[in-house]
Symmetry: C2
Subunit: 252 residues, 2 copies
DNA sequence: CGTTCCCAACTGGTTGAACCAGTTTGGTCG
DNA sequence: CGACCAAACTGGTTCAACCAGTTGGGAACG
Protein backbone atom coordinates (compact mmCIF):
# COMPACT_ATOMS: atom_id res chain seq x y z
CA UNK A 1 0.00 0.00 0.00
CA UNK A 2 1.32 3.38 1.02
CA UNK A 3 4.88 3.91 -0.10
CA UNK A 4 5.17 3.86 -3.90
CA UNK A 5 2.39 6.38 -4.49
CA UNK A 6 3.78 8.52 -7.28
CA UNK A 7 2.98 11.85 -5.68
CA UNK A 8 2.23 13.99 -8.66
CA UNK A 9 3.92 17.12 -7.47
CA UNK A 10 6.98 17.96 -5.44
CA UNK A 11 5.04 20.02 -2.92
CA UNK A 12 2.50 17.22 -2.50
CA UNK A 13 5.23 14.66 -1.92
CA UNK A 14 6.83 16.81 0.76
CA UNK A 15 3.44 17.39 2.37
CA UNK A 16 2.74 13.67 2.53
CA UNK A 17 6.19 12.91 3.87
CA UNK A 18 5.97 15.43 6.69
CA UNK A 19 2.37 14.46 7.43
CA UNK A 20 3.46 10.87 7.78
CA UNK A 21 6.30 11.78 10.09
CA UNK A 22 4.02 13.79 12.33
CA UNK A 23 1.18 11.31 12.43
CA UNK A 24 3.50 8.38 13.06
CA UNK A 25 5.09 10.15 16.01
CA UNK A 26 8.55 10.43 14.47
CA UNK A 27 8.05 14.18 14.76
CA UNK A 28 6.47 14.49 18.21
CA UNK A 29 4.11 17.25 19.26
CA UNK A 30 5.90 20.36 20.39
CA UNK A 31 9.10 19.67 18.51
CA UNK A 32 10.49 22.30 16.18
CA UNK A 33 10.85 21.68 12.48
CA UNK A 34 14.05 22.65 10.77
CA UNK A 35 13.87 26.09 9.19
CA UNK A 36 12.22 26.46 5.80
CA UNK A 37 15.59 27.12 4.19
CA UNK A 38 17.06 23.96 5.68
CA UNK A 39 14.05 21.78 4.88
CA UNK A 40 14.03 23.04 1.31
CA UNK A 41 17.68 22.03 1.01
CA UNK A 42 16.94 18.66 2.66
CA UNK A 43 14.26 17.88 0.10
CA UNK A 44 16.38 19.25 -2.71
CA UNK A 45 13.88 21.94 -3.59
CA UNK A 46 13.36 25.65 -3.01
CA UNK A 47 11.59 27.59 -0.32
CA UNK A 48 8.52 28.51 -2.35
CA UNK A 49 7.67 24.93 -3.16
CA UNK A 50 8.40 23.82 0.38
CA UNK A 51 6.16 26.57 1.74
CA UNK A 52 3.23 25.20 -0.26
CA UNK A 53 3.61 21.99 1.70
CA UNK A 54 3.76 24.03 4.92
CA UNK A 55 0.49 25.73 4.05
CA UNK A 56 -1.25 22.41 3.67
CA UNK A 57 0.08 21.11 6.97
CA UNK A 58 -0.95 24.36 8.63
CA UNK A 59 -4.44 24.13 7.16
CA UNK A 60 -4.77 20.63 8.63
CA UNK A 61 -3.61 21.98 11.99
CA UNK A 62 -0.64 19.69 12.09
CA UNK A 63 1.83 22.52 12.56
CA UNK A 64 1.77 26.05 13.90
CA UNK A 65 3.83 28.66 12.10
CA UNK A 66 4.95 31.96 13.58
CA UNK A 67 7.10 34.52 11.90
CA UNK A 68 10.45 34.83 13.61
CA UNK A 69 9.91 31.76 15.73
CA UNK A 70 9.77 28.90 13.28
CA UNK A 71 7.46 25.96 12.82
CA UNK A 72 6.23 23.78 15.67
CA UNK A 73 4.53 20.41 15.44
CA UNK A 74 1.01 20.67 16.87
CA UNK A 75 -0.53 18.04 19.13
CA UNK A 76 -2.91 16.60 16.58
CA UNK A 77 -4.49 14.28 19.15
CA UNK A 78 -5.85 17.32 20.95
CA UNK A 79 -6.27 19.91 18.24
CA UNK A 80 -6.84 17.80 15.14
CA UNK A 81 -9.84 17.69 12.84
CA UNK A 82 -11.55 14.78 11.12
CA UNK A 83 -9.40 15.39 8.08
CA UNK A 84 -6.58 13.66 9.95
CA UNK A 85 -8.53 10.42 10.34
CA UNK A 86 -7.51 9.08 6.95
CA UNK A 87 -3.81 9.88 7.19
CA UNK A 88 -3.76 8.67 10.77
CA UNK A 89 -5.22 5.29 9.88
CA UNK A 90 -2.85 5.05 6.94
CA UNK A 91 0.39 5.96 8.71
CA UNK A 92 -0.57 6.09 12.37
CA UNK A 93 1.64 5.10 15.24
CA UNK A 94 1.19 1.83 17.09
CA UNK A 95 -1.42 -0.61 15.80
CA UNK A 96 -3.35 -0.72 19.05
CA UNK A 97 -4.36 2.93 18.92
CA UNK A 98 -5.14 2.57 15.25
CA UNK A 99 -7.55 -0.29 15.88
CA UNK A 100 -9.28 1.73 18.59
CA UNK A 101 -9.76 4.58 16.16
CA UNK A 102 -11.16 2.10 13.65
CA UNK A 103 -13.70 0.89 16.20
CA UNK A 104 -14.65 4.48 17.02
CA UNK A 105 -15.04 5.18 13.35
CA UNK A 106 -17.46 2.29 12.96
CA UNK A 107 -19.54 3.57 15.86
CA UNK A 108 -19.55 7.09 14.54
CA UNK A 109 -20.42 5.86 11.07
CA UNK A 110 -23.63 4.26 12.37
CA UNK A 111 -24.52 7.37 14.34
CA UNK A 112 -24.13 9.55 11.28
CA UNK A 113 -26.15 7.07 9.29
CA UNK A 114 -28.91 7.24 11.89
CA UNK A 115 -28.93 11.00 11.64
CA UNK A 116 -29.10 10.85 7.87
CA UNK A 117 -31.85 8.25 7.97
CA UNK A 118 -33.94 10.27 10.41
CA UNK A 119 -33.60 13.41 8.35
CA UNK A 120 -34.26 11.51 5.14
CA UNK A 121 -37.54 10.25 6.57
CA UNK A 122 -38.50 13.85 7.27
CA UNK A 123 -37.32 15.50 4.08
CA UNK A 124 -37.16 12.90 1.33
CA UNK A 125 -38.94 13.77 -1.88
CA UNK A 126 -40.34 11.47 -4.50
CA UNK A 127 -37.21 11.40 -6.60
CA UNK A 128 -35.20 10.41 -3.53
CA UNK A 129 -37.53 7.52 -2.75
CA UNK A 130 -37.38 6.26 -6.31
CA UNK A 131 -33.62 6.34 -6.27
CA UNK A 132 -33.56 4.45 -2.97
CA UNK A 133 -36.01 1.84 -4.25
CA UNK A 134 -33.83 1.22 -7.28
CA UNK A 135 -30.74 0.85 -5.14
CA UNK A 136 -32.50 -1.55 -2.78
CA UNK A 137 -33.59 -3.69 -5.71
CA UNK A 138 -30.02 -3.79 -6.98
CA UNK A 139 -28.67 -4.64 -3.53
CA UNK A 140 -31.16 -7.45 -2.98
CA UNK A 141 -30.24 -8.90 -6.32
CA UNK A 142 -26.52 -8.64 -5.55
CA UNK A 143 -27.22 -10.31 -2.21
CA UNK A 144 -28.88 -13.24 -3.94
CA UNK A 145 -25.97 -13.52 -6.34
CA UNK A 146 -23.64 -13.26 -3.32
CA UNK A 147 -21.70 -10.67 -5.30
CA UNK A 148 -19.60 -9.16 -2.57
CA UNK A 149 -17.99 -6.49 -4.73
CA UNK A 150 -21.35 -5.23 -5.94
CA UNK A 151 -22.69 -5.25 -2.39
CA UNK A 152 -19.88 -3.08 -1.06
CA UNK A 153 -20.26 -0.57 -3.88
CA UNK A 154 -24.03 -0.65 -3.52
CA UNK A 155 -23.71 0.00 0.18
CA UNK A 156 -21.78 3.19 -0.44
CA UNK A 157 -24.23 4.29 -3.14
CA UNK A 158 -27.06 3.58 -0.72
CA UNK A 159 -25.57 5.71 2.03
CA UNK A 160 -24.94 8.43 -0.50
CA UNK A 161 -28.57 8.39 -1.60
CA UNK A 162 -29.76 8.50 2.00
CA UNK A 163 -27.55 11.48 2.71
CA UNK A 164 -28.90 13.24 -0.36
CA UNK A 165 -32.43 12.46 0.74
CA UNK A 166 -31.74 14.12 4.09
CA UNK A 167 -31.35 17.43 2.20
CA UNK A 168 -28.95 18.71 4.83
CA UNK A 169 -25.67 20.39 3.94
CA UNK A 170 -24.29 19.69 7.40
CA UNK A 171 -24.93 15.95 7.10
CA UNK A 172 -23.60 15.93 3.55
CA UNK A 173 -20.33 17.53 4.60
CA UNK A 174 -19.85 15.31 7.61
CA UNK A 175 -20.68 12.25 5.55
CA UNK A 176 -18.24 13.25 2.81
CA UNK A 177 -15.32 13.31 5.18
CA UNK A 178 -16.32 10.22 7.09
CA UNK A 179 -17.31 8.10 4.11
CA UNK A 180 -14.07 8.80 2.32
CA UNK A 181 -12.14 7.45 5.27
CA UNK A 182 -14.53 4.54 5.68
CA UNK A 183 -14.29 3.64 2.00
CA UNK A 184 -10.49 3.62 2.14
CA UNK A 185 -10.62 1.52 5.26
CA UNK A 186 -12.97 -1.08 3.80
CA UNK A 187 -10.89 -1.22 0.63
CA UNK A 188 -7.82 -1.99 2.71
CA UNK A 189 -9.29 -4.19 5.45
CA UNK A 190 -11.97 -6.16 3.64
CA UNK A 191 -13.00 -8.04 6.77
CA UNK A 192 -14.40 -4.78 8.15
CA UNK A 193 -17.39 -5.07 5.87
CA UNK A 194 -19.71 -7.82 7.02
CA UNK A 195 -23.24 -8.66 6.04
CA UNK A 196 -26.07 -10.35 7.91
CA UNK A 197 -28.67 -12.75 6.50
CA UNK A 198 -31.44 -10.29 7.26
CA UNK A 199 -29.83 -7.66 5.04
CA UNK A 200 -32.60 -7.60 2.38
CA UNK A 201 -35.30 -7.39 5.02
CA UNK A 202 -33.48 -4.49 6.68
CA UNK A 203 -33.23 -2.57 3.44
CA UNK A 204 -36.92 -3.00 2.71
CA UNK A 205 -37.93 -1.94 6.19
CA UNK A 206 -35.63 1.06 6.04
CA UNK A 207 -36.82 2.39 2.72
CA UNK A 208 -40.46 1.75 3.58
CA UNK A 209 -40.05 3.73 6.78
CA UNK A 210 -38.35 6.57 4.92
CA UNK A 211 -41.11 6.57 2.32
CA UNK A 212 -43.75 6.71 5.07
CA UNK A 213 -41.85 9.51 6.79
CA UNK A 214 -41.51 7.33 9.88
CA UNK A 215 -38.17 8.56 11.20
CA UNK A 216 -38.34 6.55 14.38
CA UNK A 217 -38.80 3.23 12.64
CA UNK A 218 -36.11 4.06 10.09
CA UNK A 219 -33.65 4.76 12.87
CA UNK A 220 -34.67 1.66 14.81
CA UNK A 221 -34.20 -0.53 11.76
CA UNK A 222 -30.77 0.93 11.15
CA UNK A 223 -29.71 0.60 14.75
CA UNK A 224 -30.93 -2.98 14.98
CA UNK A 225 -29.14 -4.03 11.87
CA UNK A 226 -25.79 -2.42 12.63
CA UNK A 227 -25.81 -3.68 16.18
CA UNK A 228 -25.69 -7.15 14.69
CA UNK A 229 -22.84 -6.47 12.29
CA UNK A 230 -20.89 -4.36 14.75
CA UNK A 231 -21.11 -7.04 17.44
CA UNK A 232 -19.34 -9.34 15.06
CA UNK A 233 -16.79 -6.70 14.15
CA UNK A 234 -15.98 -5.83 17.72
CA UNK A 235 -15.36 -9.46 18.56
CA UNK A 236 -12.95 -9.56 15.62
CA UNK A 237 -11.14 -6.39 16.59
CA UNK A 238 -11.08 -6.71 20.35
CA UNK A 239 -8.07 -9.05 20.53
CA UNK A 240 -6.01 -6.47 18.67
CA UNK A 241 -6.92 -3.78 21.14
CA UNK A 242 -6.02 -5.78 24.20
CA UNK A 243 -2.96 -7.66 23.10
CA UNK A 244 -1.10 -7.12 19.89
CA UNK A 245 0.22 -4.02 18.36
CA UNK A 246 0.31 -4.94 14.71
CA UNK A 247 -3.03 -6.03 13.37
CA UNK A 248 -2.12 -8.61 10.81
CA UNK A 249 -2.59 -12.07 12.31
CA UNK A 250 -5.64 -14.10 11.37
CA UNK A 251 -8.22 -14.82 13.94
CA UNK A 252 -8.42 -18.37 15.30
CA UNK B 1 -14.40 44.80 -0.09
CA UNK B 2 -13.82 43.10 3.22
CA UNK B 3 -14.65 45.49 6.01
CA UNK B 4 -12.46 45.65 9.14
CA UNK B 5 -11.14 42.09 9.34
CA UNK B 6 -7.43 42.82 9.68
CA UNK B 7 -6.16 39.69 7.99
CA UNK B 8 -2.65 39.30 9.26
CA UNK B 9 -1.00 38.19 6.07
CA UNK B 10 -1.49 38.95 2.41
CA UNK B 11 -1.99 35.31 1.46
CA UNK B 12 -4.52 34.86 4.26
CA UNK B 13 -6.46 37.94 3.17
CA UNK B 14 -6.66 36.67 -0.40
CA UNK B 15 -7.73 33.25 0.82
CA UNK B 16 -10.53 34.73 2.89
CA UNK B 17 -11.65 36.98 0.07
CA UNK B 18 -11.88 34.17 -2.48
CA UNK B 19 -13.45 31.84 0.09
CA UNK B 20 -16.11 34.41 0.74
CA UNK B 21 -16.81 34.88 -2.97
CA UNK B 22 -17.18 31.15 -3.50
CA UNK B 23 -19.31 30.48 -0.45
CA UNK B 24 -21.57 33.45 -1.13
CA UNK B 25 -22.22 32.27 -4.66
CA UNK B 26 -20.60 35.22 -6.36
CA UNK B 27 -18.20 32.69 -7.84
CA UNK B 28 -20.57 29.85 -8.76
CA UNK B 29 -19.61 26.19 -8.93
CA UNK B 30 -18.03 25.23 -12.22
CA UNK B 31 -16.87 28.73 -13.12
CA UNK B 32 -13.25 29.30 -13.98
CA UNK B 33 -11.06 31.55 -11.91
CA UNK B 34 -8.83 34.06 -13.64
CA UNK B 35 -5.32 32.77 -14.17
CA UNK B 36 -2.83 32.92 -11.31
CA UNK B 37 -0.89 35.64 -13.08
CA UNK B 38 -4.02 37.75 -13.52
CA UNK B 39 -5.29 37.18 -9.98
CA UNK B 40 -1.89 38.09 -8.56
CA UNK B 41 -2.03 41.34 -10.51
CA UNK B 42 -5.64 41.93 -9.39
CA UNK B 43 -4.66 41.63 -5.75
CA UNK B 44 -1.49 43.62 -6.28
CA UNK B 45 0.75 40.78 -5.26
CA UNK B 46 2.91 38.10 -6.87
CA UNK B 47 2.19 34.58 -7.98
CA UNK B 48 3.92 32.81 -5.10
CA UNK B 49 1.90 34.57 -2.47
CA UNK B 50 -1.29 34.10 -4.44
CA UNK B 51 -0.52 30.42 -4.84
CA UNK B 52 -0.39 30.01 -1.07
CA UNK B 53 -4.00 31.14 -0.99
CA UNK B 54 -4.81 28.67 -3.80
CA UNK B 55 -3.32 25.81 -1.78
CA UNK B 56 -5.58 26.59 1.15
CA UNK B 57 -8.68 26.76 -1.04
CA UNK B 58 -7.66 23.51 -2.68
CA UNK B 59 -7.14 21.83 0.68
CA UNK B 60 -10.66 22.86 1.67
CA UNK B 61 -11.97 21.42 -1.61
CA UNK B 62 -13.37 24.74 -2.73
CA UNK B 63 -11.43 24.71 -5.98
CA UNK B 64 -9.89 22.11 -8.26
CA UNK B 65 -6.59 22.95 -9.88
CA UNK B 66 -5.20 21.27 -12.99
CA UNK B 67 -1.99 22.13 -14.70
CA UNK B 68 -2.61 23.57 -18.13
CA UNK B 69 -6.32 23.92 -17.56
CA UNK B 70 -6.65 26.48 -14.84
CA UNK B 71 -8.62 26.66 -11.62
CA UNK B 72 -12.28 25.71 -11.36
CA UNK B 73 -14.66 26.47 -8.53
CA UNK B 74 -15.84 23.22 -6.97
CA UNK B 75 -19.44 22.55 -5.96
CA UNK B 76 -18.90 22.82 -2.24
CA UNK B 77 -22.50 21.85 -1.50
CA UNK B 78 -21.77 18.39 -2.89
CA UNK B 79 -18.09 17.89 -2.25
CA UNK B 80 -17.46 20.05 0.80
CA UNK B 81 -16.21 19.04 4.23
CA UNK B 82 -17.20 20.22 7.68
CA UNK B 83 -14.43 22.75 7.53
CA UNK B 84 -16.67 24.84 5.31
CA UNK B 85 -19.42 25.09 7.93
CA UNK B 86 -17.87 28.07 9.68
CA UNK B 87 -17.11 30.13 6.59
CA UNK B 88 -20.47 29.21 5.10
CA UNK B 89 -22.37 30.45 8.13
CA UNK B 90 -20.23 33.57 8.21
CA UNK B 91 -20.50 34.56 4.54
CA UNK B 92 -23.10 32.18 3.14
CA UNK B 93 -25.59 33.00 0.45
CA UNK B 94 -29.25 33.61 1.14
CA UNK B 95 -30.40 33.69 4.76
CA UNK B 96 -32.89 30.88 4.40
CA UNK B 97 -30.31 28.27 3.58
CA UNK B 98 -28.06 29.62 6.33
CA UNK B 99 -30.76 29.20 8.96
CA UNK B 100 -31.42 25.67 7.80
CA UNK B 101 -27.74 24.85 8.21
CA UNK B 102 -27.86 26.38 11.67
CA UNK B 103 -30.76 24.12 12.62
CA UNK B 104 -28.92 21.10 11.25
CA UNK B 105 -25.87 22.10 13.21
CA UNK B 106 -27.85 22.18 16.43
CA UNK B 107 -29.22 18.71 15.75
CA UNK B 108 -25.82 17.34 14.90
CA UNK B 109 -24.32 18.95 17.96
CA UNK B 110 -26.68 17.03 20.23
CA UNK B 111 -25.99 13.79 18.40
CA UNK B 112 -22.26 14.25 18.81
CA UNK B 113 -22.80 15.10 22.43
CA UNK B 114 -24.79 11.90 22.89
CA UNK B 115 -22.00 9.91 21.34
CA UNK B 116 -19.46 11.57 23.60
CA UNK B 117 -21.63 11.03 26.66
CA UNK B 118 -22.15 7.34 25.89
CA UNK B 119 -18.46 6.78 25.36
CA UNK B 120 -17.60 8.81 28.44
CA UNK B 121 -19.82 6.55 30.53
CA UNK B 122 -17.91 3.57 29.22
CA UNK B 123 -14.38 4.90 29.40
CA UNK B 124 -14.25 7.72 31.95
CA UNK B 125 -11.55 7.46 34.58
CA UNK B 126 -11.47 8.92 38.07
CA UNK B 127 -9.71 12.08 37.03
CA UNK B 128 -12.35 12.66 34.36
CA UNK B 129 -15.18 12.27 36.87
CA UNK B 130 -13.54 14.66 39.29
CA UNK B 131 -13.10 17.25 36.57
CA UNK B 132 -16.75 16.86 35.56
CA UNK B 133 -17.95 17.17 39.16
CA UNK B 134 -16.01 20.40 39.57
CA UNK B 135 -17.45 21.81 36.38
CA UNK B 136 -20.99 20.84 37.40
CA UNK B 137 -20.55 22.59 40.74
CA UNK B 138 -19.35 25.72 38.97
CA UNK B 139 -22.22 25.58 36.49
CA UNK B 140 -24.84 25.14 39.20
CA UNK B 141 -23.41 28.09 41.03
CA UNK B 142 -23.39 30.21 37.87
CA UNK B 143 -26.98 29.15 37.27
CA UNK B 144 -28.01 30.38 40.70
CA UNK B 145 -26.19 33.66 40.09
CA UNK B 146 -27.91 33.79 36.67
CA UNK B 147 -24.49 34.59 35.23
CA UNK B 148 -25.13 33.99 31.56
CA UNK B 149 -21.58 34.63 30.42
CA UNK B 150 -20.18 32.11 32.90
CA UNK B 151 -22.84 29.60 31.90
CA UNK B 152 -21.95 29.76 28.22
CA UNK B 153 -18.25 29.37 28.93
CA UNK B 154 -18.93 26.61 31.42
CA UNK B 155 -21.07 24.82 28.87
CA UNK B 156 -18.18 24.68 26.43
CA UNK B 157 -15.77 23.55 29.14
CA UNK B 158 -18.26 20.88 30.14
CA UNK B 159 -18.56 19.51 26.62
CA UNK B 160 -14.81 19.59 26.35
CA UNK B 161 -14.43 17.55 29.53
CA UNK B 162 -17.02 15.03 28.34
CA UNK B 163 -15.20 14.62 25.06
CA UNK B 164 -11.94 14.07 26.90
CA UNK B 165 -13.64 11.53 29.15
CA UNK B 166 -14.75 9.60 26.07
CA UNK B 167 -11.07 8.88 25.35
CA UNK B 168 -11.78 8.66 21.63
CA UNK B 169 -9.65 10.42 19.06
CA UNK B 170 -12.43 10.23 16.51
CA UNK B 171 -14.90 11.98 18.80
CA UNK B 172 -12.29 14.52 19.81
CA UNK B 173 -11.56 15.46 16.22
CA UNK B 174 -15.20 15.66 15.22
CA UNK B 175 -15.97 17.72 18.30
CA UNK B 176 -13.08 20.10 17.63
CA UNK B 177 -14.43 21.03 14.23
CA UNK B 178 -18.04 21.19 15.26
CA UNK B 179 -17.56 23.01 18.55
CA UNK B 180 -15.47 25.69 16.95
CA UNK B 181 -18.28 26.48 14.57
CA UNK B 182 -20.86 26.24 17.32
CA UNK B 183 -18.86 28.54 19.56
CA UNK B 184 -18.57 31.16 16.84
CA UNK B 185 -22.26 30.85 16.14
CA UNK B 186 -23.30 31.31 19.76
CA UNK B 187 -20.94 34.26 20.09
CA UNK B 188 -22.63 35.91 17.13
CA UNK B 189 -26.26 34.86 17.65
CA UNK B 190 -26.63 34.91 21.41
CA UNK B 191 -30.26 33.82 21.29
CA UNK B 192 -29.11 30.42 20.06
CA UNK B 193 -28.00 29.51 23.53
CA UNK B 194 -30.97 28.88 25.78
CA UNK B 195 -31.24 27.31 29.17
CA UNK B 196 -34.05 25.43 30.92
CA UNK B 197 -34.99 25.59 34.61
CA UNK B 198 -34.09 21.94 35.06
CA UNK B 199 -30.51 22.60 33.95
CA UNK B 200 -28.88 21.82 37.33
CA UNK B 201 -30.87 18.61 37.70
CA UNK B 202 -29.82 17.55 34.21
CA UNK B 203 -26.16 18.10 34.95
CA UNK B 204 -26.32 16.09 38.15
CA UNK B 205 -28.16 13.23 36.48
CA UNK B 206 -25.70 13.23 33.60
CA UNK B 207 -22.55 13.15 35.67
CA UNK B 208 -23.99 10.57 38.05
CA UNK B 209 -24.81 8.34 35.12
CA UNK B 210 -21.34 8.77 33.67
CA UNK B 211 -19.78 8.01 37.05
CA UNK B 212 -21.89 4.84 37.33
CA UNK B 213 -20.95 3.85 33.80
CA UNK B 214 -24.63 3.91 32.84
CA UNK B 215 -24.34 4.98 29.22
CA UNK B 216 -28.02 4.54 28.48
CA UNK B 217 -29.17 6.85 31.25
CA UNK B 218 -26.51 9.42 30.39
CA UNK B 219 -27.72 9.51 26.80
CA UNK B 220 -31.37 9.65 27.84
CA UNK B 221 -30.71 12.56 30.15
CA UNK B 222 -28.90 14.43 27.42
CA UNK B 223 -31.56 13.73 24.84
CA UNK B 224 -34.35 14.76 27.18
CA UNK B 225 -32.71 17.99 28.09
CA UNK B 226 -31.78 19.10 24.61
CA UNK B 227 -35.16 18.19 23.22
CA UNK B 228 -36.56 20.86 25.51
CA UNK B 229 -34.09 23.57 24.51
CA UNK B 230 -34.16 22.67 20.85
CA UNK B 231 -37.93 22.78 20.70
CA UNK B 232 -37.69 26.35 21.81
CA UNK B 233 -34.94 27.11 19.33
CA UNK B 234 -36.78 25.59 16.41
CA UNK B 235 -39.83 27.64 17.13
CA UNK B 236 -37.59 30.70 17.11
CA UNK B 237 -35.88 29.80 13.86
CA UNK B 238 -38.74 28.32 11.89
CA UNK B 239 -40.17 31.66 10.74
CA UNK B 240 -36.84 32.52 9.15
CA UNK B 241 -36.83 29.27 7.24
CA UNK B 242 -40.30 29.73 5.84
CA UNK B 243 -39.95 33.47 5.41
CA UNK B 244 -37.35 34.85 2.99
CA UNK B 245 -38.13 32.36 0.26
CA UNK B 246 -35.32 32.61 -2.27
CA UNK B 247 -35.19 28.91 -3.04
CA UNK B 248 -36.62 27.13 -6.04
CA UNK B 249 -37.78 23.78 -4.72
CA UNK B 250 -41.43 23.60 -3.83
CA UNK B 251 -42.79 20.66 -1.94
CA UNK B 252 -45.26 18.65 -4.07
C1' DC C 1 -12.70 20.70 -49.30
C1' DG C 2 -11.74 17.95 -45.32
C1' DT C 3 -8.47 15.84 -42.30
C1' DT C 4 -4.26 15.63 -39.88
C1' DC C 5 -0.74 17.44 -37.49
C1' DC C 6 2.04 20.60 -35.13
C1' DC C 7 3.28 24.70 -32.82
C1' DA C 8 2.25 28.92 -30.47
C1' DA C 9 -0.10 30.60 -26.57
C1' DC C 10 -2.30 29.74 -22.89
C1' DT C 11 -2.65 27.22 -18.08
C1' DG C 12 -0.39 25.78 -13.51
C1' DG C 13 4.41 23.87 -11.33
C1' DT C 14 9.16 24.83 -9.95
C1' DT C 15 13.24 27.42 -9.32
C1' DG C 16 16.56 30.82 -7.15
C1' DA C 17 17.80 35.04 -5.26
C1' DA C 18 16.80 39.00 -2.98
C1' DC C 19 14.61 41.73 0.40
C1' DC C 20 10.96 42.72 4.31
C1' DA C 21 9.42 41.85 9.03
C1' DG C 22 9.06 39.78 13.45
C1' DT C 23 11.99 37.15 17.52
C1' DT C 24 15.73 35.70 19.88
C1' DT C 25 20.15 36.19 21.64
C1' DG C 26 24.36 37.73 23.19
C1' DG C 27 27.40 41.23 24.01
C1' DT C 28 28.15 46.10 25.03
C1' DC C 29 27.55 50.06 27.63
C1' DG C 30 25.68 52.70 31.42
C1' DC D 1 24.18 43.96 37.64
C1' DG D 2 20.74 45.60 34.43
C1' DA D 3 19.05 48.03 30.31
C1' DC D 4 19.68 48.14 25.74
C1' DC D 5 20.78 47.46 21.04
C1' DA D 6 22.48 45.08 16.98
C1' DA D 7 23.47 40.78 14.65
C1' DA D 8 21.59 36.50 13.39
C1' DC D 9 18.15 33.83 13.25
C1' DT D 10 12.98 32.79 11.96
C1' DG D 11 9.00 33.10 8.49
C1' DG D 12 6.59 36.56 4.79
C1' DT D 13 6.81 38.72 0.26
C1' DT D 14 8.55 39.93 -4.17
C1' DC D 15 10.54 39.29 -8.68
C1' DA D 16 11.93 37.08 -12.93
C1' DA D 17 12.73 33.28 -15.15
C1' DC D 18 11.93 28.61 -16.87
C1' DC D 19 9.52 23.73 -16.88
C1' DA D 20 5.41 21.04 -18.04
C1' DG D 21 0.70 19.91 -19.31
C1' DT D 22 -3.52 21.55 -22.46
C1' DT D 23 -5.72 23.80 -25.99
C1' DG D 24 -6.89 25.76 -30.33
C1' DG D 25 -5.94 27.58 -34.73
C1' DG D 26 -3.56 27.39 -38.91
C1' DA D 27 -0.40 25.15 -42.18
C1' DA D 28 0.39 21.05 -44.70
C1' DC D 29 -1.33 17.19 -46.77
C1' DG D 30 -4.64 13.81 -48.76
Amino acid sequence: MGQGEASSSVAEAIYVDLLRQIVSGRLPAGSRLRSERELAADYGTNRNTLREAMRKLEQGRLITVRQGQGVTVADFRKTGTIEILGPFLAHGGDGRETVRVMVDLLVVRVQVLEMAVAMAAQHAQEADIERLEALVAAQVEAFERADRQALVEGDIAMVDALVDAAHSLTIRWIANTLLEVYRGLVAKVASLWVIEPIFPRYLRRLVDAVARGDAEDAVDATRDYYQRTDDRLFRTLEPFIRGGDHGQATKG
